[in-house]
């Protein structure tokens, strides 16, 4: 994960990603890849691949993995706990992806899951995002 963070540092510079878009992108990719590492039985010789690039004013990130099919859009929205006693941490990563990505797509092809996340260049102006 440390190398993903460093790769993102370099891409932010190379692709000229605006600050708020970079924050949203990092939030989503951290959560997506951690989720895969935690729940996907990746074996030797298989990998998780991330691609990133602009398509017009949309920054598009794709995450491919060889695990069992899983569409995060189908995951339930976590219910905020009303007290610490009742709080059961979990499901927050997927929730954050849904909050921060402007577009989310999912497909399976060739035995691989493909998650596509889109981030508008104008994210800062479009949302109540500090």
């Amino acid at each position: 994960m440390g190398r993903l963070a460093e790769w993102l540092d370099r891409q932010e510079f190379r692709l000229g990603i605006p600050t708020n878009v970079a924050f949203a992108l990092r939030q989503c990719l951290e959560e997506a890849v951690v989720n895969l590492i935690d729940y996907t039985p990746v074996t030797e010789g298989e990998d998780i691949a991330v691609e990133l690039g602009w398509q017009g004013d949309l920054l598009v990130a794709t995450v491919e993995d060889p695990g069992p099919p899983f569409d995060l859009l189908s995951a339930p929205v976590p219910i905020p706990a009303i007290s610490l006693e009742l709080a059961v941490p979990g499901g927050w990563g997927i929730h954050l992806i849904r909050c921060f990505a402007d577009q989310i797509g999912y497909e399976t092809a060739g035995g691989r899951n493909r998650l596509t996340l889109g981030f508008s260049r104008f994210k800062a102006a479009a949302e109540d995002f500090p």
Binding site: L4, R10, Q27, V50, L84, G90, W92
Partner: protein, 133 residues
């Protein structure tokens, strides 16, 4: 498209010289209260760095003020660590508060809906008042 391939990574360049690492300082405020000042990114890597020392502080059975003013990013795994710490402290009659998170970090906390579980204070005086209440 620029590609990143995980798990089996090859061909990566040198680490960025300005890559931010996570730093954790523990400062006693009083006999019953300690401030944990964090600096850097609380991403998966940063969370891994603080997990053990933070849980050791939780185990010391004191109120904890987590200073987030120098934290630029927070992943859900780090929020999980904070919530679990707060749960442990509450069972022992103690509290965990967050001090001055940066706007984007606070936004993430609100998106997850944990600001009632991890109350935010703006200065140490306010924290002392809450700990005393």
């Amino acid at each position: 498209m620029n590609a990143f391939t995980g798990i089996q990574l090859v061909g990566f360049g040198p680490f960025l010289e300005d890559a931010i690492t996570m730093d954790m300082q523990i400062i006693a405020i009083s006999q019953d209260t300690v401030k944990v000042a964090l600096t850097g990114r609380l991403d998966v890597e940063g969370s891994g760095i603080i997990d053990l020392p933070f849980n050791t502080v939780v185990g010391s059975n004191r109120n904890i003020l987590v200073d987030l003013s120098a934290v630029t990013f927070v992943a859900s795994i780090a929020i999980r660590t904070l919530v679990l710490g707060a749960k442990t402290l509450e069972r022992r009659g103690k509290k965990l508060l967050l001090l001055n998170p940066q706007p984007k970090v606070e936004y993430v906390l609100k998106m997850i809906g944990v600001t009632d579980l991890l109350p935010i204070v703006r200065d140490e005086n306010e924290a002392v008042a809450v700990f005393s209440s």
